[in-house]
């Protein structure tokens, strides 16, 4: 086992001093190290696995053409600009002078190779769906590339933000197994060692195009138990930890060396109804449930004031497409009871709320609170906690019971979240012709005004029809050592550490 002790303040001071004396010599063993405690590791460094945990690790060595930011927007990365040539062709200019970790230059051939590799279904690239409408890539010159799509594809840039560019020459030499064993890209950190289930060790890329990282070595440790993760932060073994559970926030805040950094993620946490079966085929029942649940109380008591109440719609308030004119319905149990009476709601009808455990912040607690609030208006609600794989099977078979909890990420663009209420998303039981039409309209234009109008109307439809109970925009909570600067909590759970420093 590699023994990499967490650096104490004194060790860092000595190491920096030693490095200064040694001058510009090769990297030394006890360099300035940043240690991050991750909640979950992907099981391998295989590119294209559809999970934020995987993307977060791979993003350290490899980069996309355009990158997402912690503020929810997009920023140029390996591409510096793009031009829309026609409805289905976008031209990208690549950043010049960018070098892979092996010293070779990034060229359009590498970008074309990466995209073509992803488009080949035989390669089983999990994130293919993000850029599925792409039909081809043409290299114009070494720093220019044209991407063509089968139809107008307004979320091309957002889709490309998950596509990490590989070196064609490196792939030709080592194959996909080699890339997985030793990722090599243009990113701020260079692969050093991967110990499955334990740690990912990287060194700083001194020649990084956006300036060398402020520390020499990055260690990302997997610490699955939240209590242990918080303990490692408070003990100074880690400087940043992911996923601070709500009940351990006080322990972090009591510590003299650590604090909590929070951002509202783009995940809308909702309870989806099976609208095929009575009593949920009656819109009055769904409306009554919305009045019966006090979302603000859940945010206050369970999330301890973190995150946000969804404003009667699927999208969180920072997402593109959020409709600011719709407000969450107030908590009104009397109105709920009246509506249920009017709908002749069957009092003893068992309402099972299905959820996974630990998938979202306080998921089971929130379900229990909802069940309690529904109980107050005379609904016989219970919570059923289901294992992840089984849950997925239930979803695929559309047998998730009367209500189930799910969080849909928008990643900042309504398209990614709204798709789940369309038939094409293969998750929706509810079916609304106008919603389907608007979704397709918004997806087939690059005109932001038309798209905004479509999403605003779609949010109105969701608000009127209540195919789901819209609960909360989930917080993304990090624990951070107070000496850390230039780090912020990410709404998409990607670690962005190129500018991070600690004193």
């Amino acid at each position: 086992m590699p023994n990499i002790p967490a650096p104490s303040r004194r060790q860092i001071g000595q190491a920096t001093l030693a490095a200064a004396i040694a001058g510009a010599g090769p990297a030394r063993a006890a360099d300035k190290t940043l240690v991050v405690g991750a909640s979950v590791f992907p099981d391998s460094l295989r590119p294209g696995i559809s999970s934020f945990a995987s993307e977060s690790l791979l993003d350290q060595t490899n980069e996309p053409l355009v990158a997402r930011t912690n503020e929810g927007g997009l920023t140029p990365c390996l591409a510096t600009s793009y031009t829309v040539l026609d409805d289905t062709t976008v031209q990208f200019k690549l950043r010049s002078g960018v070098k892979f970790h092996d010293g070779s230059n990034l060229t359009a051939e590498d970008v074309a190779f990466t995209i073509n590799y992803i488009l080949d279904v035989r390669n089983g690239y999990g994130l293919l769906a993000r850029i599925a409408p792409v039909s081809g890539v043409t290299v114009v010159d070494p720093l220019t590339i044209n991407i063509t799509t089968r139809a107008v594809f307004p979320t091309l840039l957002m889709g490309l933000s998950s596509v990490l560019i590989q070196s064609k020459a490196y792939f030709d030499r080592v194959g996909i197994a080699g890339i997985q064993a030793r990722p090599m890209g243009t990113g701020p950190f260079i692969y050093e060692r991967w110990t499955p289930g334990d740690r990912y060790t990287l060194t700083a890329n001194r020649n990084y195009w956006d300036g060398a990282p402020k520390f020499d070595r990055l260690v990302i440790r997997e610490i699955p138990d939240p209590g242990t993760r918080v303990a490692s932060l408070v003990a100074g073994e880690t400087q940043i930890i992911e996923e601070v559970p709500i009940d351990l926030i006080p322990q972090v805040e009591r510590s003299p060396i650590a604090k909590v950094d929070e951002i509202t993620s783009t995940a809308g946490l909702i309870l989806t109804y099976d609208v095929r079966v009575p009593p949920f085929n009656d819109p009055r029942v769904r409306l009554a449930f919305d009045f019966a649940v006090d979302k603000e109380a859940i945010r206050r008591e369970i999330l301890k004031g973190r995150g946000e109440v969804l404003q009667g719609q699927l999208l969180t308030s920072t997402s593109f497409g959020f409709n600011p004119n719709i407000r969450a319905r107030g908590f009104d149990p009397d109105r709920a009871r009246a509506l249920l009476r009017e709908a002749r709601y069957p009092a003893r009808y068992p309402v099972v709320i299905s959820t996974q455990s630990g998938k979202y912040v306080s998921d089971v607690d929130i379900c229990n609170a909802v069940a309690g609030m529904l109980g107050n208006v005379g609904v016989n609600a219970t919570v059923n906690v289901v294992e992840g794989g089984v849950f997925q099977q239930m979803q695929n078979a559309f047998r998730t019971g009367p209500m189930y909890m799910i969080g849909w990420y928008s990643l900042g663009d309504a398209d990614f979240a709204t798709v789940w209420f369309t038939q094409g998303g293969r998750r929706a039981i509810w079916n609304n012709a106008e919603y389907e039409r608007l979704f397709l309209a918004a997806r087939s234009t690059n005109d932001r005004e038309i798209r905004t109008a479509a999403y605003h109307r779609m949010m109105e439809i969701l608000h009127e029809e209540n195919p789901a109970l819209f609960l909360l925009g989930l917080p993304s909570l990090y624990g951070v050592n107070k000496r850390i600067t230039n780090f912020s909590a990410a709404p998409d759970k990607i670690l962005r550490l190129a500018k991070t420093d600690f004193v």
Binding site: S50, R122, Q180, P196, G197, S232
Partner: protein
């Protein structure tokens, strides 16, 4: 004795086949790896390609047959998530679990037998009472709770040990103790009971009348005979020890095979789960055989049975 070992080894494949079958069927019935692995928005062609590659379009008995056929050639299949042979992935992580389990076992044996002897010698006195009470209390303490307490005390309050992870000796102390705490109370109580039982036996009285000291009798006459019940206990508990290590590995972020199995189950990565379960099953079966043989070596009466 040779025939006995041969018969035991001959029965091994049958138990392994059963273990493999049960694991396979349960995993296949409770989740589709393709849907867990691919994005839910993945294209139909992608789903079809992966389904065919994993033979998921075949009936489960046929899938199991294909799995067995590959297994005959020593091939557990390729891990879905790791893109590498399943057996290699398991073996890579097995070392950490074996290190942890054997350290925990060693700790439990040393402390357990030592404290058990103290209890027997100090029977019904303060030391006996304190150790026995703590042992009973310890037995009823779940290991995840003990692990959390240890981290709070030794890593946070006192700052003596690192909270988690693998590395030097300081990293293994708390997880090994947590694992040993699961066996320790029983070893103490079994040692105490057998030593007390044996001290009234005629051969002990005879040894004492020869003029041997109490300590000498305890070490050379009583202790070897007290060893067999402890060995039987360990033989039974070895499976539980591996099972218990999953929780301990999670709490202390120990990179062992227990967490690997848990992750692989979540992803329905059948080749990895099968490889891990079968390797562990072989390990447990062989350990049990070793325990039986060891008992024969120690006790001539068992040999004659």
């Amino acid at each position: 004795m040779g025939r006995y070992i041969a018969r035991r080894l001959a029965l091994l494949p049958l138990s392994l086949l059963l273990v493999a079958l049960i694991t396979f069927v349960i995993l296949r019935l409770t989740g589709n790896p393709v849907e867990i692995f691919l994005d839910v928005n993945s294209t139909p062609e992608q789903i079809a390609e992966l389904t065919a590659r994993l033979h998921l379009d075949e009936p489960i008995p046929v899938q199991f047959f294909i799995f067995l056929r590959d297994l005959m050639t020593g091939d557990f299949g390729e891990s879905l998530q790791f893109n590498a042979p399943a057996a290699g992935i398991v073996l890579e992580r097995l070392g950490a679990t074996l290190t942890l389990a054997s350290t925990g076992l060693g700790l439990a044996m040393t402390l357990g037998i030592g404290l058990g002897l103290v209890c027997a010698v100090q029977r019904d006195r303060a030391a006996d009472f304190v150790i026995t009470s703590v042992a009973v209390a310890g037995q009823s303490m779940p290991s995840f709770w003990l692990g959390i307490l240890l981290i709070q005390l030794f890593a946070l309050k006192l700052g003596w040990l690192p909270t988690s992870g693998a590395g030097g000796i300081q990293h293994i102390i708390m997880p090994a103790f947590t694992i040993s705490a699961f066996l320790l109370p029983n070893i103490i109580l079994i040692t105490r009971a057998s030593v007390l039982d044996l001290s009234h036996e005629q051969f002990v009285v005879a040894a004492r009348s020869k003029g041997l000291s109490r300590g000498r009798v305890l070490i050379t006459h009583i202790l070897p005979n007290a060893f067999n019940p402890i060995l039987s206990f360990l033989g039974i508990q070895i499976g539980a020890l591996i099972g218990g290590s999953i929780i301990t590995e999670t709490i202390f972020a120990w990179p062992g095979v227990g967490r690997l199995i848990l992750n692989s189950i979540a992803h329905r990565d059948v080749p990895v789960v099968e490889a891990a379960v079968l390797i562990i099953a072989v390990g447990i079966a062989l350990t049990n055989l070793a325990v039986d043989l060891l008992q024969m070596l120690i006790d001539p009466r068992v040999r004659r049975q």
